[in-house]
């Protein structure tokens, strides 16, 4: 009887302490360790960010070894709640309107209105237990010409310092550049951490920050494979996307060799994108397909975060060609003619895979910086012959730019994808 009472007492105390600790605000601070390296501490414990830009698939994210998500704005409180319920922290973005969206930083009315709105958002969220770091603005420097935007960033950072001593401030820039580092150092002294969105430029980001004399820590706030804006284009301006398998290798190397090794000033990273979005293609940055299936990039991140591959791995497309011409080249075909597309892929530990092909019109877009792009709808096309590695089809009869996608998935839906743009004329 006494033993049962003791167990009950223990459970009650445990429950109460859990509830109490969940309702507490985390104390997060930037500090230096005995080696002189910068560290993020959460409630006094070193906290290395293993994060992703994510809005869903939190279960898989946690199971893959991540501990944090980054969101870009405050327009969805349920994301913070959900992250918290999954034991994830959140780098919460304050959406500072970039100049490229029409914001005029010489317009006192627009500037003050935005600041007051965002101050109010800070007050709303500052005590959320999932909050880790404030992300003040995302890529406000992209194609900008009015440097007054840094005044807004500083006003908000300074306000956060006044009302929320528990969470560090970060501003996020698109790529590393000496002028941006200068402006942030000089005009934003209340910024604690520099967030850098780096794709191709991740290769030299660490050394460049040192060359540009950035003397505070940084977080790789977005990283992944080279972006569409860095890709080679066909003669008809379609961007050439590498197959998933090559992108997976690139991700793994970048994490292991560049992010993880910079213990001195890097506080961690957020991979892009734990979800799906249209950016030139539907599969460029997203680590999931539009149907929700995870791609092999998810497996790579689990390996990066935990050092272990998942038991069930996605297949991996290593190469794709059209009419025996590789994916890096231009492909120009006549209307309504027979064409053959080939893929090479590794099955890993899958005994069976399903291969599918989908044709889309080319989605030309001049949007930049992650601005919203619309996805095209798939097109019907005639298949003459299909097996696991080869598709023979009839090209569209209408002239124009197209893109053929090949999807390979296992029984669990874990997928790999590759595509090849072609011109019918």
């Amino acid at each position: 009887m006494e033993r049962n009472i003791n167990i009950l007492f223990f459970l009650v105390i445990n429950f109460i302490s859990t509830i109490t600790s969940y309702s507490q605000v985390s104390r997060v601070e930037v500090t230096t360790n005995s080696s002189g390296n910068f560290e993020l501490h959460r409630n006094g414990i070193p906290y290395y960010i293993k994060g992703a830009g994510a809005k869903d698939h939190f279960d898989l994210l946690v199971n893959s070894g991540a501990n944090s998500i980054r969101v870009w704005s405050t327009n969805n409180k349920s994301l913070l709640d959900s992250a918290y319920n999954h034991g994830l922290t959140v780098t919460l973005g304050l959406h500072v309107r970039p100049e490229r969206s029409g914001m005029d930083y010489n317009d006192e009315y627009a500037v003050k209105g935005q600041i007051e709105f965002l101050k109010n958002e800070v007050l709303k969220y500052k005590d959320h237990p999932a909050l880790l770091v404030w992300g003040i603005g995302n890529e406000v420097d992209l194609k900008y010409s009015n440097f007054k935007v840094w005044e807004t960033i500083e006003i908000l950072a300074k306000f956060i310092k006044e009302v929320d001593p528990n969470h560090p401030t970060m501003t996020v820039i698109a790529g590393v550049d000496p002028s941006k580092v200068f402006y942030i150092k000089k005009y934003c002294p209340s910024i604690d951490i520099l967030g850098i969105n780096v794709y191709g430029s991740i290769e030299k980001a660490g050394i460049n920050l040192r060359k540009f004399n950035w003397d505070k820590p940084y977080i790789v706030s977005e990283w992944g494979v080279n972006g569409p804006f860095e890709a080679r284009k066909t003669s008809w301006k379609a961007k050439i996307e590498p197959p998933n398998g090559l992108k997976a290798d690139q991700r793994q190397r970048r994490y292991k060799d560049l992010i993880e090794k910079d213990k001195e000033i890097c506080l961690g990273s957020y991979c892009f994108l734990w979800g799906q979005k249209q950016e030139s293609t539907a599969t460029w940055h997203g680590m999931f397909l539009s149907n929700g299936n995870p791609t092999e990039a998810v497996d790579v991140m689990q390996f990066c975060w935990t050092g272990k591959w998942p038991e069930s791995r996605a297949p991996s497309i290593k190469d794709i060609s059209l009419e025996n011409v590789g994916w890096k080249k231009d492909h120009i075909l006549a209307p309504s003619t027979q064409a053959t597309l080939k893929i090479e892929f590794s099955k890993y530990n899958n005994t069976e895979v399903i291969v599918e092909y989908v044709l889309y019109p080319e989605a030309f877009s001049d949007k930049i910086g992650g601005d919203i792009q619309k996805s095209p709808d798939p097109l019907n096309f005639e298949i003459l012959n299909q097996n696991d590695n080869e598709l023979t089809f009839v090209t569209p009869k209408s002239k124009g730019a197209y893109r053929m996608f090949a999807f390979v998935k296992n029984k669990r839906g874990q997928s790999s994808v590759a595509n090849i743009p072609f011109l019918v004329k």
């Binding site: 005029d104 010489n106 317009d107 009315y109 010409s145 440097f147 200068f182 919203i372």
Partner: protein
């Protein structure tokens, strides 16, 4: 005489008396904007559906519009829109605004605003992806969005909240919209949402905000110009990580002491600086007759490559590897270097009104000091940079 005196006194008395009866008047005329606001005849844009003053009411996959007759703010019904712009390029509702009569907003721009009431069915939001667009009869459009400062209570919730869009907030100057010839107002919607809207009208409003001055640009139109003043405007020099490049002291202003050994495999062989405080430097009026001049203290001329970067443009980087023709030996180990801007490859494609950075890369083992950077007048042959008599 007495009569004249009496008449004078009577007139004077009348004057005094009338002074006492004078009505108060302002020193100045009543403000023009107030009177013109009162005269402005088209103050009502929407109060209920009977006015037939809307277009774009046809429902499609991106918007569902209805007139709801419960919980109105004014009139017998109000506008309700539910939209999802993810599958459409354009979601909007237009207000014919007094049946497309020409509206002259110019006299009331400074004293008026568009006012409307909004609410949602549940919850609370403080931001709606919604734009207000004024179109003139020339087809030009200007835009404004909801500003937190003019959103009643800082939120939209289930009670009717007032939103003001000052006419001054529209970017009509930038878009060259003729505000004396306005045709209609459009409400444009982005992303997704739903909103009840009622009582759209023009009201008096004072807008106390200014446009601040442009401070991101520095224009140079004469020589000489000292370049790269202030160590904070330099990069590539960080002795914590490399001693290849350090600030020197041999020259006026900033200079760099270069010590690159052949065995060094790191890439600390490049430095750069802003011509002027990392502003967008405009030398477009003088670039064609300009050269960069600097000094080198060395035993021999080092092999260096010069770059110029711009903030904008198709060609954002131009470069040239300097050779002996760029240098004059001044004795005692001092060389003067001249780099005409027209000698940089593809200089015609460069945005000289958006100059960002001057950069140097040391191409081989070297030990020297470089500094005293200036932009000088140069009217000689760019291929013979040291032979112009003017230097």
């Amino acid at each position: 005489m007495k009569l004249i005196l009496k008449i004078f006194i009577v007139i004077l008395s009348f004057c005094f008396l009338s002074c006492g009866k004078m009505r108060n008047v302002n020193l100045y005329e009543p403000s023009k904007s107030v009177s013109t606001f009162e005269k402005f005849p088209y103050k009502i844009l929407f109060t209920e559906s009977d006015e037939n003053g809307l277009w774009g009411l046809k429902n499609n996959k991106c918007k569902h519009i209805s007139f709801e007759n419960t919980k109105n703010y004014i009139g017998k019904d109000h506008l309700y829109i539910n939209w999802d712009a993810s599958k459409c390029n354009y979601v909007a509702v237009g207000l014919k605004w007094s049946n497309y009569k020409v509206k002259n907003l110019e006299p009331i721009i400074e004293s008026s605003a568009i006012e409307l009431r909004v609410r949602i069915d549940s919850g609370e939001i403080s931001n709606v992806p919604m734009f207000f667009v004024l179109s003139d009869y020339g087809g030009k459009q200007c835009r404004a969005n909801i500003n937190y400062l003019n959103l009643e209570g800082g939120k939209i919730d289930t009670v009717w909240r007032k939103i003001l869009i000052p006419l001054q907030a529209f970017n009509y100057k930038k878009r060259d919209v003729n505000m004396s010839n306005i045709k209609e107002l459009r409400l444009e919607f982005q992303r997704k949402g739903d909103l009840h809207i009622d009582n759209i009208r023009i009201v008096e409003h004072t807008h106390d905000f200014q446009k601040t001055k442009e401070t991101s640009v520095k224009v140079f139109d004469t020589w000489p110009i000292k370049l790269g003043i202030g160590k904070e405007h330099w990069w590539g020099i960080n002795t914590k990580y490399s001693s290849n490049l350090q600030f020197g002291e041999s020259f006026k202003n900033e200079s760099v002491l270069v010590d690159i050994k052949k065995s060094t495999k790191d890439d600390w062989n490049t430095f750069g600086f802003s011509p002027y405080g990392w502003k967008r430097v405009n030398i477009s009026s003088i670039f064609s007759t300009s050269a960069i001049k600097f000094k080198i203290k060395a035993d021999k001329i080092p092999k260096i490559q010069a770059f110029m970067f711009s903030y904008k443009g198709e060609k954002r980087m131009i470069q040239k590897i300097l050779n002996n023709s760029n240098f004059i030996n001044k004795g005692n180990g001092i060389y003067e270097a001249y780099l005409p801007l027209k000698s940089l490859i593809d200089f015609q494609k460069f945005r000289w009104d958006e100059l960002k950075e001057i950069r140097f890369k040391i191409l081989e083992e070297a030990h020297f000091e470089i500094g005293e950077f200036q932009l000088i007048e140069f009217r000689g042959n760019p291929k013979k940079p040291t032979q112009w008599k003017g230097i």
